[in-house]
């Protein structure tokens, strides 16, 4: 039996992967300073990761469709805003705004939020979390806080 009036808040997560190269360095600093702050990530010629992105949307299942959000639409949003522009790209040279913003995993997660948030709409539906794995052993979670604001 379905109970369409007994709707719970639910969290739906979709995972996509993209492979990209980047350099984490501030052009205003010398190589030693960049190495001190960003470590091996500052190698001027770049290096790459198989980034894994998990996007979580919150909402209540629609009484008619039984869905929080159309997964096919979410797949298209993630492909259009993230995978197509970033997969097999050098982030610093090919993806805005990383020609002028250091593409740390933190900044990349915030940029992904900015790109996909406007496309996720619906009654009671909201983008809940962006989890970005740089490697299996390092990931960040971003919930849309303003820059500088602590969750």
């Amino acid at each position: 039996m379905l109970h369409p009036n007994n709707s719970h808040l639910m969290f739906l997560t979709r995972k996509v992967e993209f492979s990209a190269s980047h350099v984490c360095a501030n052009p205003a600093w010398d190589e030693a300073e960049n190495r001190r702050v960003y470590g091996a990530n500052s190698n001027p010629n770049g290096h790459g990761h198989n980034f894994v992105l998990e996007v979580t949307i919150s909402g209540q299942p629609d009484a008619i469709t039984g869905m929080v959000f159309d997964l096919r639409e979410l797949k298209e949003i993630l492909n259009r805003e993230v995978v197509e522009p970033m997969d097999h790209r050098f982030l610093n040279r090919e993806v805005e705004p990383f020609d002028r913003v250091v593409p740390t995993t933190e900044n990349l997660a915030m940029e992904i939020w900015r790109r996909i948030c406007p496309a996720i709409s619906g009654e009671g539906v909201r983008l809940h979390n962006v989890r970005l794995y740089e490697t299996a052993d390092l990931f960040v979670d971003y919930g849309g806080q303003e820059q500088g604001e602590v969750r």
Partner: protein
């Protein structure tokens, strides 16, 4: 924002409560009560929470790694939790182990982001997680 880093350590333990009889311990802990102990490859996740600095980083990864290595991994990796880790109070369940890790890290926590969460997988099937108290 939260940043999570994953570490590994291998330790042995035996679950046996002095407050229970031998028979009660056997029934409660089952195989984990084997008198000679057994071990796990634990997977430890440390999450920190804070603001992203102007350099685009929330935390210096190396500083976090060094802290966890010095305070936690060095004490637990390739150790017997019952005999080699006197700081571990009570039965060395992964619940108690997670609370010990929290205590070890919060004592003189030197980093700007706060310790947010500790998650330990004892095996791939059993995971224990706690939200850290305010440091």
């Amino acid at each position: 924002m939260r940043l999570t880093r994953r570490y590994r350590f291998a330790s042995s333990h035996r679950l046996d409560s002095p407050a229970l009889t031998a028979e009660q311990n056997r029934r409660l802990y089952g195989k984990c009560n084997n008198p000679f102990g057994h071990g796990h490859d634990y997977v430890l996740e440390i999450s920190v929470e804070g603001r992203v600095e102007e350099n685009g980083l929330m935390i210096d990864r190396e500083a976090l790694d060094k802290l966890v290595e010095a305070k936690v991994l060095r004490r637990l990796d390739h150790k017997d939790l019952n005999r080699d880790v006197p700081e571990l109070v009570g039965v060395p369940t992964t619940e108690n182990l997670a609370q010990l890790v929290e205590g070890l890290l919060l004592a003189d926590w030197p980093l700007a982001p706060r310790l947010a969460r500790i998650r330990i997988a004892e095996t791939e099937r059993n995971t224990f997680e706690l939200e850290a108290v305010a440091s």
